[in-house]
């Protein structure tokens, strides 16, 4: 068993999830089963292998250019509404569960 209930409580806290006691028990079982399977990766020697975080810096790029120069086509001037018009305040607040017309409204942040 790699993952204990204590670990699950800690990770749920990091992820801002509440998890009921029943969900916690299921999570201990599922995470252990998945991590046990994932362990087969340790059979591979990855010394000196570069990690691959994304596709875009390797494939379909101008090989003659290095680093950020490869992506110069993706840069633009830092101007207001450079790519599209900003959302109006009304539009931006439209989907909010609670708003006062100017701001999103949330429960008290600081407890006294």
């Amino acid at each position: 068993m790699k993952v204990t209930e204590k670990d699950v409580i800690y990770v749920a806290d990091l992820a801002n999830l509440e998890l009921t006691p029943k969900e916690r028990a299921g999570m201990v079982r599922d995470l252990n089963s998945i991590l046990e399977y994932v362990d087969r990766l340790n059979a591979l020697d990855t010394t000196n292998v570069e990690p691959m975080a994304q596709i875009s810096d390797r494939y379909g790029v101008d090989e003659s250019r290095q680093g950020s120069k490869r992506f110069s086509y993706a840069s633009r001037d830092d101007v207001v509404e450079g790519l599209r018009k900003s959302l109006s305040q009304e539009e931006a607040l439209k989907n909010a569960p609670d708003a006062d017309g100017t701001f999103f409204r949330v429960p008290k942040v600081i407890e006294r």
Partner: protein, 477 residues
């Protein structure tokens, strides 16, 4: 009556020649949805007003005798992970049950600019996390070819809509196989383009380095037509590639004779259903008889693809899903007393079991003390998987495999065993990890009349070749 196998070309010519109006075709499709979808469950939201407006525009163009754009009048369905301005977009999650996006996804906007009529938004696994569509917060989708079976996932609604003639074409998204596997289960064509070929702007993010948008259609030519419309640089997505878009439809006509097709033994091992194996092997024989040379290749890291995928995808998901905080647009729990309690309870009450499981796994893999052992390790193995393909594509032009190890399974069959469900993606996740394109094309049926899919994988940005091979096979089959 909607003709079976009504394709994009057929629709466009019929409208251009004024044999049918876009409006009438749209109405026929809505009638069919009304009649069939109660039992299939492919659609979550219909957008009749928006469709009507698009149909009217095309009918006026046709009446004026103007040349029609490539998707003129084509009734399409959009997976509900793509934002549609003014039309509810839920990602099949309770978290976004009432979310109305203020902007359009680029791929959807390009479909409409090319004349497509968006009928509605299709059901899927919650946040595209699943292989059976059973993780939808609203209802599962049933396979139109066998109602006791799943349609595959996560783009199950899009594949089912096309298979049941409720739409002529659809858009899906693929992070680990979510376009190709449901296409295979439902007996239609599904294409995952190269990463960067199609803009992800407006796609609700699951795993950003793996997410792709692509077409689900009734035949290969339609997939080529749709790809031509949605592909190409978009300044709104910095990962969209700055490369020219070929004429994919014209490329179909190039001969497939002489192409070298790789067959990797790693895709024909333990767990492959014998009927699927047989169908795929005969498809390979058929391609051989069409003049393609069959070459054995090795992709030795294939057995490590699923664990690599489930570490990287969940790590990225745990970060992407942090935005559902109950403040700006997602579900908020009632009766909460503090901000922290609001985050926790809102997320707990609105995410389904699989979504929570993946957030937990991803957070664990990224947490202090485990980052190197899990996340970084997986990224290194991802390099090895990509190298396997680079090596193979020095020898061959495309690689042919089964799309899925089994035909469509029964509802409930795997829903209590996350690992068994993950293994349904064993032949598809490799392409997502390597960023290469892949297509699934129907290659026969089992004795129980369940569709089987042939997968063709290609080099980065070489969709033209896999479409050409798929087209040649389809024409000969």
């Amino acid at each position: 009556m909607i003709q079976p196998l009504l394709t994009i070309n057929a629709v466009r010519s019929a409208i251009q020649e004024r044999k049918i109006t876009t409006l009438a075709l749209m109405e026929e499709h809505y009638e069919r949805i009304e009649k069939e979808d109660a039992q299939i469950g492919a659609f979550l939201t219909l957008c009749r007003e928006r469709a009507l407006e698009a149909a009217d525009r095309i009918d006026r163009m046709a009446a004026e005798g103007e040349p029609l754009p490539p998707l003129a009048g084509v009734p399409v369905a959009i997976k509900d992970v793509m934002s549609t301005r003014g039309v509810r977009t839920t990602a099949a999650s309770k978290s976004l049950e009432h979310y109305i996006p203020p902007y359009d996804c680029t791929a959807v906007a390009r479909m409409e600019a090319a004349g497509a009529v968006v009928l509605g938004k299709t059901n899927c696994d919650e946040f595209a996390m699943g292989s059976s569509n059973e993780n939808s917060a609203f209802r599962p989708v049933r396979n139109p070819r066998a109602l006791d079976r799943v349609p595959g996932g996560s783009s199950g609604g899009s594949a089912a809509a096309v298979a049941a003639d409720m739409a002529v074409a659809a858009l899906g998204s693929d992070t680990g196989g979510s376009i190709r596997q449901p296409a295979s289960f439902c007996g239609v064509v599904g294409l995952m383009p190269t990463y960067g070929r199609v803009s992800r702007y407006g796609l609700i993010a699951f795993a950003s380095s793996l997410d792709h948008i692509g077409p689900i259609t009734k035949n290969v030519k339609d997939a080529a037509t749709v790809l031509g419309v949605i592909a190409g640089r978009d300044p709104m997505d910095s990962t969209s590639a700055n490369l020219p878009v070929p004429d994919y439809v014209a490329e179909l006509e190039k001969p497939s004779r002489g192409l070298k097709l790789g067959v990797a033994k790693e895709y024909f091992g333990e767990g492959l259903d014998p009927e699927v194996r047989q169908a795929v092997e005969s498809a390979i024989d058929r391609l051989n008889s069409l003049g393609c040379e069959i070459v054995p290749v090795s992709l030795p890291h294939t057995p490590y693809a699923i664990p690599t995928y489930y570490l990287i995808a969940t790590a990225e998901a745990s970060s992407n899903l942090a935005r559902y905080d109950g403040v700006r647009y997602s579900y908020r729990a009632r009766g909460v007393k503090s901000l922290s309690e609001m985050y926790r309870r809102s997320r707990d009450e609105s995410f389904g079991a699989e979504v929570k499981r993946r957030i937990m796994l991803g957070t664990y893999a990224l947490s202090a003390g485990y980052y190197d052992a899990y996340y970084l390790k997986a990224q290194k193995v991802r390099t090895l998987l990509a190298r396997d393909f680079e090596e193979a594509f020095r020898k061959v032009d495309a690689i042919v495999t089964p799309t899925s190890p089994t035909p469509a399974f029964r509802l409930g069959e795997k829903s209590n065993d996350p690992l068994a469900m993950y293994l349904a993606d064993i032949y598809t996740v490799t392409a997502d990890l390597a960023g290469i394109p892949g297509i699934s094309v129907p290659c026969g049926e089992t004795r129980d009349k369940l569709p089987i899919g042939l997968q063709i994988l290609g080099r980065h940005f070489d969709e033209a070749t896999i479409l050409r091979v798929a087209h040649a096979y389809e024409q000969a089959a």
